[in-house]
Symmetry: C2
Subunit: 262 residues, 2 copies
DNA sequence: ACAAAAGTGTTACTTTTACACCCATGA
DNA sequence: TCATGGGTGTAAAAGTAACACTTTTGT
């Protein structure tokens, strides 16, 4: 037999007080996206008991708005508090989507068996949120149920827990169809960025090459960018101009949608 | 004192067995849309105890997919089984959105007081679905909690219960932004329809006039319509050609989105 | 015969696409 | 000095917008 550690207080509380504290049978899961080294990344937790990756998720307190629950999950995992774009995108409610054995394994690793009538052992409907955050601002934080918290390249998703792969795909699909209305530039990039960086972001999300000249013309035509006099030094070649978003115009333009073909 | 009728069995069951049968604290509400006499209509229930209109809604059985619950609600209210477009669009989860007094009034009208610890008296998070149905196929059906079930002109919404007005507006907003991907023609119109009818539908949803010639050219260019040799007689003037959708091409075109400006 | 709605084509304008050369920087 | 990526403009093509007259039908 393996040596069991004591059950952490937070897990004990969840088991005993969860039903009183949280809405029953409903959770939130967050698809947290960042952009780094020309790649879209997703923040995932490694669940050692099942040896799979999972989306950061949590429960909804009885008096808490659902957005607040998602925001809480996001903060706990990333430490980021500002410039977050967070939006619900779909509810996942297949009757068999929850897998109680995952909870069981977690508690078993501390020598505890969850009673069958405990609130954790039931169907859970989850509300999917996606978040766009500045990669550089994130300090990934472990949760009590995870052994690792990492940015994973979106192209290289390994085995995810339960239906989380499905949730990720739905998030990306939503991201693509809503692109024209989303502040991806502002939230996925640092404050100052270059035109090529912005283009790479769009290319990555759309998964296609774009013409540099046409891309620049279109973006500038929206009138949402300020070109700075500074340039980005340190690149191996000609220095690119830095830009910032014109906040007011950006928000206004997004309401209409950044139309046109990419 | 008013004379009380006996509590209907369905309401008694809901109170006593609801907690065992349904997911706790979660519901579905349906924004059911139809098109008639050049107007977008929404199917609403009149709740006499509060004298307000309400969206048809229901609970989710413990082993039922959430879409099935919405579909069940839709069928119970409309009798329609075929050619339905039904899709979730948003979750409404403000902690104070549910109003237990509405249930209380309903049961009070039968002389019954709901105990404070009953499952009905709690926060409810609701999943909003919208449905596009053929107005002519619908036979509006009363529910046990309503005294009237009617198509209401979308422009003339009166006082709605709880946050239902908000839900309707969010549905319409979603309808507009997703227009290019939605089979509004197929699901909101009868099988055979005229070009002016289709145009009126788009004009109504977009809330703007469109040029007849440009509209026709664009729609035909998608290659999703079959013109029939029949014409629509009985109109007071020149008979319009009837069209049907080319199912295969329509579905395929929708995946790409019916692009272009209207 | 007239009023009302349906059918149809062309032109100007706007947007999108395609494409090539020079420039700055670090190695 | 050279390799690499960044900056810039123009012309052809496609798509969109604007617009008027004729035809059919019922009254």
């Amino acid at each position: 037999m393996s040596i069991k550690n004591a059950l952490p207080p937070s897990l004990k509380l969840l088991l005993e007080k969860g039903a009183a504290q949280y809405q029953s049978g409903i959770s939130v899961d967050c698809v947290i996206l960042g952009f780094h080294e020309q790649q879209l990344k997703i923040l995932l937790l490694k669940i050692d008991t099942v040896n799979k990756w999972a989306l950061p998720g949590g429960f909804i307190k009885k008096t808490e708005p659902i957005e607040a629950a998602a925001y809480r999950v996001l903060q706990e995992r990333t430490g980021v508090v500002k410039d977050i774009f967070l939006q619900q995108f779909h509810v996942f409610g297949a009757p068999d989507r929850a897998d109680a054995s995952i909870h069981q394994k977690r508690y078993q690793s501390f020598g505890v068996k969850i009673p069958k009538d405990n609130w954790l052992i039931q169907r859970f409907i989850t509300i999917g949120f996606y978040a766009l955050v500045d990669f550089d601002k994130v300090k990934a934080q472990l949760s009590t149920t995870a052994t690792d918290c990492e940015w994973v390249n979106i192209e290289q998703l390994e085995a995810l827990m339960m239906d989380h792969e499905n949730i990720v795909h739905k998030a990306l699909e939503t991201l693509r169809t809503q692109l024209a209305y989303l502040p991806i530039g502002k939230n996925l990039l640092p404050k100052k960025f270059t035109m090529p960086e912005l283009q790479k972001l769009y290319e990555t999300i759309l998964n296609q090459k774009l013409d540099r000249r046409n891309f620049q013309r279109k973006l500038l035509s929206f009138g949402i960018l300020n070109r700075l006099t500074e340039t980005k030094k340190g690149g191996a070649h000609k220095a690119a101009y830095l830009y910032t978003f014109n906040e007011k115009r950006y928000q206004k333009a997004l309401k209409e949608g950044l139309y046109g073909s990419w």
